[in-house]
Each structure stands twice: as C-alpha cells, then as structure tokens.
C-alpha cells in the first residue's frame, strides 16, 4: 500500500470500520466479516452492479445504493440488513426464479449453486410472480463445456473473466432487457468459436448451473473459484 492512501472511517450496521479511500462498501464489509449478499460480484473481477442484491441503505441518501459499486465516504452510515432490504432481496430472488427455467432438482449444480443457497438464506419459499417459462435452448456444441440459458441469471461473471483474466473475450452479451443473452463470438455455437481457449474459467465463476462441464450429472458440478484472486493478483503485479 502506498503512503498516499487515505483512510476513511464509517459505520456499517452500527460497527465502526476503517477503509482505504478507493474501496467499495462491499469490499470493506467483507474485510470486516459483514456479509452482504451478491451474485454478480466475485473477488478478482471488476464490479458489474447488475444483480442488485447488494443494495444497502446509506443515511441521508433516499435511494438504495449497490454496495459493490459505491465507494466509501467519510462518516458514511451504512445499513445492510433492514427489513426493507430483506424484503427487496427476496423479491429480487423471486424475479430471478420467475424469469428463466430454474429447476434445481435436475440441475448439475444442485447443492452447489449460489442462487439456490441465496434463496435458502433469504428464506424464499415461494415465487409470487408468474413464471415466464421462456423457450430457451442448451448449447452443448463445445467439446468440453455446455451453456444452458435456462439457468443463466445474467451476472456476466463469465464475460468478465473471459475478457479480464483469460483475455480471450469469447463471451459477450446480446440484446437488451429481458431479451439479454450470453453469446459466444459473433452469436455462434460455442463449438464453432475460434477464440475460446478451453480454459474453463467461465464455467468455474458461474454462480449457477448455466455453465458446466459436459458429462456431469445432476448435482455433480461443483465450482472451484480459489484460482481467481490469485490470477488477478498475478496480473496486477505484472502490470
């Protein structure tokens, strides 16, 4: 840490904490053992601010702020666990489940899924929104991996890891809003991709069973993410 870094003090859930000036609320909270739920954020990749689960209340600011994108300020008072936030997170999760076809019982990631865990932690026992049941396919053209749009929550971790860590930028996003989909290269079959290096990082950062290794059966796909902070650190030092 360089000498010029300033330290800011703030409270998170009434706890006094210190932070470096460029840190986000989420980073500071996790450093201090305060858990804020998130699905798109992953240590080692840039923040995306897409999942909206890490929204927090900051005293004096009427709107909610995403903890992963909000840089700390001096004397900030952050609340991460109010009743309003709990309800909101539950609603967001219900929207995730209603938007695509999440069928845990037959999913490769059953028991190893961040979305499933999150639903359990927030006590989501029903989906109060009508399911959309979109007609989505599975791309199993790749020799080692498969992509199931039915289980994708558009967290874009795969897109970011492919670009920022692997440097291949095979994966990207097409369309807007509820039509948004992950694509490979120029919206081709993954198996026809010329840029994919078969590294598998996208599979292992995926929070759900949307990306998985072929040949895995129900509940067999567990993701290993320990490599990511290490790779990110190594790339930082190279620069």
């Amino acid at each position: 840490m360089s000498a010029s870094v300033k330290i800011k003090t703030l409270t998170i859930d009434d706890r006094h904490v210190g932070a470096r000036e460029n840190q986000t609320i989420l980073e500071v909270a996790r450093e201090n053992g305060i858990e804020i739920p998130s699905l798109c954020y992953i240590d080692g990749l840039s923040a995306h601010g897409g999942c909206r689960l890490c929204l927090v209340e900051v005293t004096g600011i009427p709107q909610l702020l995403p903890a992963c994108m909000t840089v700390v300020e001096e004397r900030m008072e952050v609340s991460t666990q109010s009743e309003r936030l709990r309800k909101l997170r539950k609603n967001i999760l219900e929207l995730y489940f209603s938007e695509r076809n999440h069928v845990c019982s037959v999913c490769v990631s059953n028991g190893n899924c961040e979305l499933q865990d999150m639903a359990g932690e927030t006590g989501m026992d029903h989906v109060h929104f009508p399911y959309l049941y979109p007609d989505l396919g599975v791309d199993i053209t790749h020799e080692r991996f498969a992509m199931d749009d039915n289980r994708c929550i558009m967290c874009t971790r795969c897109v970011r890891v492919c670009d920022e860590i692997e440097g291949a930028h095979t994966l990207d996003i097409k369309d807007r809003g509820i039509e948004t989909r992950i694509i490979t290269d120029l919206d081709q079959n993954w198996g026809d991709s010329e840029t994919c290096t078969l590294c598998g990082k996208c599979v292992h950062v995926c929070p759900t069973g949307a990306l998985f290794e072929k040949g895995k059966s129900v509940g067999e796909m567990s993701k290993r993410r320990q490599f990511l902070p290490y790779l990110a650190l190594m790339r930082e030092e190279k620069r």
Partner: protein, 490 residues
C-alpha cells in the same frame, strides 16, 4: 334404464384415478372402466434437454419408485454412450434396485393392502388402515415398517438420499460403495429374513389356509376367484439362466397355460412386439402384445407375472417358496389376488440377492463409472420396476446429444387392460342392481372390493398424476337421465 356408477377417487393406491361401472337396463353390470384422470407429459418436457439429465429428470415422475426410473433411464443413456459399465457399477445398481423393490413392495403389501387382508374387506373403513392393522396384529405392522425402512436405508446409504437420489448416472454410478454402507446393510439381513419368512408363513396360513393352498377353504375364496382371475399373457425380464432378474435380461412372454410363447426377445426391439393403444376415456395408454392384437394381446407384468415367467428365482429360499407358489395352479397362476403372495416372495428374493451381491469380492471397487461422450443416437433401457417391466426409449440429435424424443412404457400401463378386466369381473360379482351390495348387507364392502382389485396390482398412478391432501371417497350411481340414484360417501 342404463346407469353408471362412478368411484372417484380410488383410495389407498399411489395416485389419482376413478372407476366407472356401467349397468344395463336390467341393472346388471355391463362394463367397468378404470380411468387415469390426470396428465403429466414427461415424454414431451424432456425434449431439448441434454440426455445426461434424463435419469434424474425421469426419476421425478415418481417419489415412490424413482430408483426404477433412474435405472431404466441410466441404462438407456448407457446405450447412447455405447459403453460397458464396470462390473461393480452394475452390481451396485442391482443392489439399489433391489432395495427399492423391498421398500415399494413393503409399502404396497403392509401399508396399503394388509388392512383388507388382516381386518377383512367388510371391516369398518375408519379402522381399515395401517393403524387398524397395528391394533389387530402389532407385530405385522412393525414388520412392514421395518422392511420398508431397510429398503430405504439401502437407497440412502448407497446414494445419499432416500428419495430422488442422483447417484445412478449415465455410465454407472457416481460414487463407490463405502465399507460402512456394505457392513451396515449386511448386518441387517438376518433380521429381514426372519421378518419376511414370518409374514410369508402368515399369508400362507391365514390367507391360503394351513398350507393346503386350496382356495376352496380360504376366507378370501370369493376374492381369489374374482380378483382379476383372468386369462392373460404374462411378460417380463428373465436373465440368460432363466432366473428372476430385476436389472437386466431378455423379454419372455408366457400364456395362461404356462407355455412360453416368446423368449429371448431383445428389449430394444420392443416396438415389434408391444403395441400401445389409446382410448379416449383414460390418459393411460393400453399396451398389448402385438402378435395377438388388441385387446386379445392383454398381458400382465409385475410380481405375479415374474413368478409365472421365470424358471427359478436363483436364490435358495425364494426358490423353495416359488415351488410352493407354482403348486397353486397347473399352468400360470391367474388370480391377481396372488400379486400379494408374489410380492412377499420377491421381497425374500431381494434380501437374499442383496446379501449375495454385497458379499462379492469387488463390491468396494472404486471403478464404478464408464466415461464417454455421445456415441449412439438412440438407447432403450429396460428394467423390472416393483410393479413390472419398465421401458425408457430415448432418441437424441446426432450432433451433440440433445433429446429429440422419449417414449416410456411404465409398469402400470402394461397392466391397464388387465386391471380393467379385473374390475369388471369383481363388479359383476359384488355389485348387484341399483345398489352396491355384498350379501345384501354391506355396501362399503362391495365398494372396497372394486378398489382392492386395483390395489392388488399396486398401480403407481403417481407416474401419471400427483396425489395430495385428504382423498374423499365417493361412488355415485347415475341414471341415464343424469340423476343420482344411489350414493356412497366416506
């Protein structure tokens, strides 16, 4: 005036169905139909999914016999992979399948059917349940619970979960058997053998009368004579030695006289010898033995059929019981009442076979899975489920293995024609005129007998419907003008 009696829903069966009994103008039973009234659509909803998901996806058809669907589904996938499963993988699949036979048969016999047998068909419906059995014969109720627990424990110890485990996969099983699991299961075998032997003896002495095995003196002689006591073919798997095999083998068809009419039929060729007819009044299809046409090719599957088609069970105690069972008739044993008897013999066989398999030298081997990609575009998996022969037939796209279509023939389906014939027979005997009578006194008894004949087949309608909540039971007698003439409710 022509009338229709409707029994809806049926109770103490797995799933949701109804029976209609049609009376002619003289008030005699003209016809009786068994309807499966709900639709599931599993064959359709799997289209577009990767084939490796199929075993677990199809297991969701049923919470009682998921292992049967896992086995048949995984075997169909094995063919798509075109691999040979390591020996230990096969042995472990056999063990878990037998564990399921025990738990499902125990459920059918002790929980669902023993109230009729212990307390009588005419007993008070409020008492005619497993709690009533517990009052009358506590040992028997405990035995049933213990046996079912044993079967479920095998499934849990091998596969990690009692219901819907995902351990059986394309190419084998996902994890080897632990020493602890093997030893725990083996240590319970002697107790289980005692339990099943005790209940087999009870069945033979209390139901079939002092080992004379003559239906004339049985208190259930009317039921034995009329519970689907019909001429039909019997179909099922037998292994290369002509023995009982729940996991693999070739199809054999035997006629009512006990003669083998077809043998060593390849399961993959099932469309050549099994036709599936659709009737407008039921969601359950009507499979029939093709060479004999429809409905002449009516056949039965399941415990009774298996006892009729095999040369021997292949385990010492079960073989002794089989020879006594065969003494019931010169040809095939025809009354569907004897499904109960056959079920008990199969539990005995399963216990003996599990012991043999788990005592095998390679059972703890860690090579339990073959690894391969898609090599074929089609696979047929066949196994003996508790209720009978189960076919899973998958077709995948030739590039990467996305499901194109699936066809399933579930055990309850095979028995559909026979169940219909069975209720017609029992209704003709016990339903008289405009009222539901049994010896002119007990209406409920007649009603129960119509249900009990269905129960003897142990149909798993869960495979085509969901059962939930308390099931009211009504049977209406409706005139051709739509007016209810007589009604029974409980």
């Amino acid at each position: 005036m022509a009338k229709t009696i409707t029994i809806e829903p049926l109770t103490r069966i797995e799933g949701h169905g109804k029976v209609t009994i049609h009376l002619n103008e003289k008030g005699e039973v003209e016809d009786a139909l068994f309807h499966v009234t709900q639709f599931r659509g599993f064959e359709k909803l799997c289209e577009g999914r990767p084939f490796r998901e199929m075993p677990s996806l199809m297991a969701r058809i049923c919470g009682i016999c998921p292992v049967a669907h896992l086995i048949a589904g995984a075997k169909a996938c094995d063919q798509i992979l075109a691999v040979q499963i390591p020996r230990t993988g096969v042995a472990l699949r056999k063990v878990i399948n037998l564990g399921q036979i025990i738990q499902s048969h125990a459920l059918s016999f002790f929980y669902l059917s023993s109230p009729d047998l212990v307390l009588g068909m005419d007993a008070d419906p409020a008492q005619r349940n497993i709690f009533g059995v517990h009052k009358e014969n506590p040992q028997m109720a405990r035995d049933g619970i213990r046996l079912r627990q044993f079967g479920q424990t095998i499934i849990q110890m091998l596969a990690g979960e009692r219901v819907h485990p995902s351990w059986i996969i394309a190419g084998g099983v996902s994890e080897p058997c632990s020493r602890e699991a093997r030893d725990t299961i083996l240590s319970a075998i002697p107790e289980m053998q005692k339990i099943i032997q005790r209940n087999l003896d009870w069945f033979k002495t209390s139901i079939l009368q002092a080992g004379q095995q003559t239906v004339r003196v049985s208190k259930f002689r009317d039921e034995i004579r009329t519970f689907g006591n019909i001429q039909s073919y019997f179909l099922g798997l037998v292994n290369d030695d002509g023995e009982l095999d729940f996991y693999d083998g070739k199809i054999r068809v035997v006629d009512a006289s006990g003669k083998i009419v077809a043998d060593k039929l390849a399961p993959e060729d099932y469309p050549e010898y099994i036709g599936e007819k659709v009737e407008p009044w039921s969601y359950l299809k009507f499979p029939y033995y093709k060479p004999k046409g429809y409905p002449g090719g009516m056949y039965r599957v399941g415990p009774l059929a298996r006892m009729n088609i095999i040369d021997r069970c292949g385990t010492p105690q079960a073989d002794q019981e089989l020879s006594e069972f065969r003494g019931l008739s010169r040809g095939s044993v025809l009354s569907s009442f004897y499904y109960h008897y056959a079920r008990l013999i199969e539990i005995l066989y399963a216990i003996e076979k599990i012991e043999q398999l788990l005592a095998g030298p390679d059972i703890l081997d860690t090579r339990v899975k073959a690894i391969a990609g898609r090599n074929n575009t089609e696979g047929v998996g066949v196994a003996e489920a508790p209720r009978g022969t189960l076919f899973h037939h998958y077709k995948v796209q030739d590039d990467h293995g996305i499901m194109k279509s699936a066809n399933l023939i579930i055990a309850t389906g095979h028995n559909n024609l026979a169940m219909n014939k069975g209720i017609l027979q029992v209704a003709r005997h016990f339903v008289k005129g405009e009222q539901f009578v049994k010896d002119g006194t007990d209406q409920q008894g007649a009603l129960n007998r119509v249900e009990a004949v269905i129960r003897a087949f142990d149909p798993c309608l869960s495979c085509s419907t969901h059962a939930a909540g308390k099931m009211p039971f009504t049977m209406d007698l409706v005139g051709s003008d739509g007016e209810v003439r007589d009604s029974l409710r409980r």
